[in-house]
C-alpha cells in the first residue's frame, strides 16, 4: 500500500503547490502507516526532485521525456494511473490547480476511484470509513464527503495545506511507461506567461479592487500596493465585465476562488457572489467609504474612508514598515 502524490512543475521548477501536495500526502501516509511516493512528469532535474525528500517523500518516480515536456492531459493521466497501480496506491493526491482539475477526474475514472476536489484537512479514516471535508455551494457551506471506492483520489487547493519540511532524503526511480498515441491528442502550441506578476490562485497576499476605483486609469495605486506587498492583483466581477481588468483577475463565485493569507478589498461592496470567492482567506482587510458595505461583516480589519486617500497612505506606511 502507499499514498501517491503527483508533483507539478513549471518549466522544470517544482511548484509551491507541489510541496503542499507532498506534505498533505505525507500526512495521510502517516495516518495509514504507509509510504508517501511521488510522481513527477516532464523535464525535471534530479536536484529539484531531491528536495521532496525533506517533505517526507521516500521515493519519486521520475518520468523525464521531451514528449511530455508540456502538459498533455490524457498521457499524464494514464501515467499517474499506471503508477498508482504499480505502487499499489490506496490514495492518490493531486494539486487542485488548473492542470490538476483536468487530470484528477481522468485519473479517478481510470481507477474507478471516488474523487473529492479541494479537500480541506486530512481525511478521517477508520476501518472502511474514509471521510473528508470540502467546500460546497461556492464556499457557502462545508460538506463532509464519504468516499466509498477502494482507491481514493483527493485534490488539495493551493495555500490550503502548509508545506512542512521534516528532513530526510528520497530515492529517484526513472519511470518509463509506454505512451499510447491516442493519449497525445492535444498539443500545446504556445505558453504565454505574465512575467512580472504573481499567480493569483497561488498568491499568499491578494490586493483586489472594485467599482469604487471609478475607472481602469486608477489601477496604478492598486498595482503599486500589490508590488510593495509582493501580492497578486484581483478585481470584482463588475470590473472585469466592464473590461477595466482581464477576466483572469475576477475573484468570486463565477471567477477564481482564492484562499490567501491576506486579502485586501478596496472599493468592493462585498456582494454575496464575491464573498464566496474570498471567504476562505485567512485575514481580510476591507477599505470602503460606505460603512454599511456588507464586506465589513466578514472582514477582520476595516477602514471606512476614501480609497484614493487611504491607499497612498497605506503604501507609504508599508514602505516604512519594510524599511525598518
Amino acid at each position: 500500500m502507499s499514498v501517491l502524490i503527483y508533483i507539478e512543475n513549471t518549466e522544470g521548477q517544482l511548484k509551491k503547490s507541489a510541496f503542499e501536495a507532498a506534505s498533505y500526502g505525507k500526512a495521510i501516509a502517516e495516518q495509514l502507516q504507509t509510504e508517501a511516493i511521488a510522481i513527477s512528469i516532464g523535464n525535471v532535474q534530479d536536484d529539484q526532485i531531491q528536495k521532496l525528500g525533506s517533505y517526507g517523500i521516500s521515493k519519486v518516480l521520475n518520468v523525464s521525456t521531451d514528449t511530455l515536456k508540456s502538459f498533455v492531459n490524457q498521457a499524464y493521466a494514464s501515467i499517474i494511473a499506471s503508477a498508482a497501480k504499480k505502487e499499489n496506491a490506496s490514495v492518490v493526491i493531486l494539486s487542485n490547480t488548473f492542470s490538476g482539475k483536468g487530470l484528477a477526474p481522468r485519473v479517478a475514472a481510470k481507477l474507478s476511484a471516488g474523487i473529492v476536489s479541494g479537500a480541506s484537512g486530512v481525511p478521517q479514516i477508520s476501518g472502511d470509513t474514509f471521510e473528508v471535508q470540502t467546500s460546497a455551494f461556492s464556499n457557502k457551506a462545508i460538506a463532509t464527503v464519504s468516499v466509498q471506492s477502494v482507491i481514493k483520489v483527493l485534490t488539495v487547493n493551493p495555500n490550503a495545506f502548509p508545506a512542512k519540511e521534516t528532513g530526510g532524503s528520497t530515492t529517484i526511480e526513472a519511470y518509463t511507461p509506454d505512451i499510447a498515441q491516442a493519449d497525445l491528442s492535444t498539443v500545446v502550441q504556445e505558453i504565454v506567461r505574465a512575467t512580472d506578476t504573481i499567480s493569483l490562485p497561488e498568491a499568499e497576499i491578494v490586493v483586489s479592487a472594485g467599482r469604487g476605483l471609478k475607472g481602469p486609469e486608477n489601477w496604478a495605486m492598486i498595482e503599486e500596493l500589490a508590488q510593495v506587498l509582493g501580492a497578486a492583483t484581483a478585481c470584482s466581477k463588475p470590473v472585469s465585465d466592464a473590461g477595466w481588468r482581464p477576466h483572469s483577475e475576477h475573484v468570486g463565485q463565477t471567477g477564481i476562488v482564492v484562499s490567501p493569507n491576506l486579502y485586501i478589498a478596496i472599493g468592493i461592496s462585498g456582494a454575496i457572489q464575491h464573498l464566496a470567492g474570498v471567504s476562505s482567506s485567512k485575514t481580510i482587510v476591507v477599505i470602503n467609504k460606505d460603512p454599511e458595505a456588507p464586506f465589513f461583516k466578514v472582514a477582520d480589519y476595516g477602514i471606512v474612508g476614501d480609497a484614493f486617500v487611504i491607499v497612498p497612505k497605506l503604501i507609504e506606511a508599508l514602505k516604512k514598515h519594510k524599511g525598518n
Binding site: F71, Q74, S117, A141, L262, Y301
Partner: protein, 245 residues
C-alpha cells in the same frame, strides 16, 4: 457540427444556503434555480458554433422533472433539442456515466460543459466524460475556436495561459472569455415550447462518493475598524497580530 452541451440546474447565485434533516439535505425551500452560469457560457458558444457550421446543439441534463424550466431555458437560448436523464445527480461519477452513455450512441463532434457547477464546484464532469469516452478533454478553457476539423483552445494556467490544439471530438469545460452569455429573446422563449425534450431512463451506475453532512463555515469575529488617519496601526496589526506581512 454536432454539439452536446451539459447543463446543471443550480441555485441562483444570490440564494441563501441552508440545510435540513439534521444538516444532511440542502434546503430547497424558496430557492430559485438557474442554468449554471458556466454552462450558460458553454451553451452560448455552442449556439454560435452551430450557427456558423449549419450544425445542431443538444442540451442534456441529469435531473428530475423539477429541472425542466432550466432545460426549457436552454432551448430558449438556442439549443435545438434537449435530453433529460431522469435521475437525481448523485455524484460527478454518476452524472458523467449517464451523459457518456447517451453520448456514445450519438457521435458528437464537440461536448461542452461549464468549468464547474456553482453548487458542488468539483469541476470533475468534463474530464471524467473525456476519460469515459476515450477522447481528449480541456477543463478550464478561456477561448475556443473550431476550424479544419480541430479545436484551438486557450487554457488557463497559473500565471498565464496556454494555447493548444485538440483533435475532435473533444470535451471542453468553458470559463469566462469563451462567449458572452446569451439572453433568450421572446421568439426563443415561444419557440422553446415546441422544441423536443426527450426524457430517458438512467443507466445503472453506483456513485462512488456520498455527502454525509453539511456545515456552515465558521463566522469571523466582528471587524476591527481602524481610523482612516491611523493607517500605520493597520500595518502594525497585520504584522504583529494577524502575522500576515
Amino acid at each position: 457540427m454536432k454539439i452536446l452541451v451539459c447543463i446543471s440546474n443550480v441555485p441562483d447565485t444570490t440564494s441563501k444556503i441552508t440545510f435540513t434533516n439534521d444538516n444532511t439535505t440542502f434546503n430547497t425551500a424558496g430557492v430559485q434555480y438557474i442554468i449554471n452560469p458556466y454552462d450558460e457560457i458553454a451553451l452560448s458558444k455552442a449556439v454560435d458554433l452551430a450557427a456558423a457550421t449549419n450544425g445542431t446543439v443538444t442540451a442534456i441534463t441529469v435531473g428530475d422533472a423539477g429541472t425542466e424550466p432550466t432545460i426549457r431555458k436552454a432551448l430558449a437560448i438556442g439549443a435545438d433539442n434537449a435530453i433529460r436523464i431522469d435521475a437525481l445527480p448523485a455524484d460527478a461519477w454518476f452524472v458523467a456515466n449517464q451523459i457518456a452513455t447517451y453520448a456514445r450512441d450519438n457521435n458528437f463532434d464537440l461536448i461542452l460543459t461549464g468549468r464547474e457547477s456553482i453548487d458542488y464546484n468539483s469541476a470533475q464532469v468534463a474530464a471524467m466524460l473525456g476519460e469515459l469516452l476515450g477522447i481528449p478533454s480541456v477543463s478550464v478553457a478561456k477561448g475556443l475556436q473550431v476550424s479544419n476539423g480541430q479545436a484551438n483552445i486557450e487554457r488557463e494556467i497559473e500565471g498565464g495561459k496556454e494555447m493548444l490544439t485538440s483533435s475532435l471530438p473533444v470535451v471542453v469545460g468553458t470559463a469566462e472569455g469563451v462567449a458572452e452569455p446569451k439572453i433568450p429573446n421572446m421568439r426563443g422563449i415561444m419557440g422553446a415550447r415546441s422544441k423536443p425534450l426527450e426524457v430517458i431512463p438512467p443507466a445503472t451506475v453506483d456513485p462512488l462518493t456520498k455527502i454525509k453532512s453539511y456545515a456552515t463555515p465558521p463566522s469571523r469575529g466582528s471587524v476591527n475598524l481602524i481610523d482612516e488617519d491611523q493607517v500605520e496601526q493597520l500595518v502594525n496589526l497585520l504584522h504583529n497580530e494577524a502575522k500576515v506581512i
